[in-house]
Subunit: 153 residues, 2 copies
């Protein structure tokens, strides 16, 4: 084992992050090349996906913003576009006059499921040959731990 990393903890952390980032870029590049993202950009799919995981169906726009790497204004317009395409619908938040709730329409659900299936296939074709199941479990654990720690500060 042990990719040799010189000395300091700071350096190890930086190299770890860089490796994570590069892996993400490499995988994402492949995914975007696939046919699954022809009809929908990554960020747009990400919003549909996040909405599809939401138990109540409705999600506040600012909560959506935590999941997507986009500024508030960009997300606002992205949701607006999705609404124009009939994939999501918006309504004013009942308990907060400033807020907006968003959820998938029937069409949005359909598209999410369809793209999601292709997407999952593409992912598996990249990840399965790369790592054993045990390694994937461990990678899942470590990234989740990292995410939780970063989110919680």
């Amino acid at each position: 084992m042990s990719t040799k990393t010189t000395g300091s903890p700071v350096r190890l952390a930086a190299e770890t992050w860089e490796s994570l980032f590069r892996a993400q870029v490499a995988v994402m590049r492949r995914l975007q090349a696939g046919p699954a993202f022809k009809s929908l950009a990554l960020n747009e799919y990400d919003v549909l996906f996040t909405l599809s995981r939401c138990p109540s169906g409705w999600l506040r726009q600012n909560e959506l913003n935590d999941h997507v790497l986009l500024s508030q204004s960009s997300l606002s317009r992205l949701v607006e576009r999705l609404e124009k395409r009939g994939l999501v619908e918006r309504m004013p938040a009942p308990d907060d006059g400033r807020g907006v709730l968003v959820r998938l329409t029937e069409a949005g659900w359909e598209l999410q499921k369809q793209i999601g299936r292709e997407h999952v296939r593409d992912i598996a074709s990249l990840v399965v040959p790369a790592l054993t199941a045990a390694e994937q479990q461990e990678l899942l654990r470590l990234t989740e731990k990292l995410r939780a720690s970063v989110a919680a500060r």
Copy 2:
């Protein structure tokens, strides 16, 4: 151990990727909020960083494109902007009349080092409290293995 993941290998792969992606988003969000990215966008810094790691100093534009999550045309213009700001310089590739070589200028080197230092500090402040050194080593190993496998197909 073992975040429980239901059954299928395909599903495990998808969950692993999603977790990796979410971790990347969470960390990146923090990094972009820091002062290190005030003067330079992520992709711009990424180009300077990649150039700074290149042994010969010169790098082909299409090689740069492999490291950055950007279309060819966008990278072309990004490099053009960096050139206008005096951070990189371009010259026609001697062995290939279609190609362009890029390298850091002195100013580019300085800025990369300066931002790089802040950047590394920010990363460490997020990663060090999240994972033990052994976990970071393992995360580094797994992401590098994933990246290499994906790149090699």
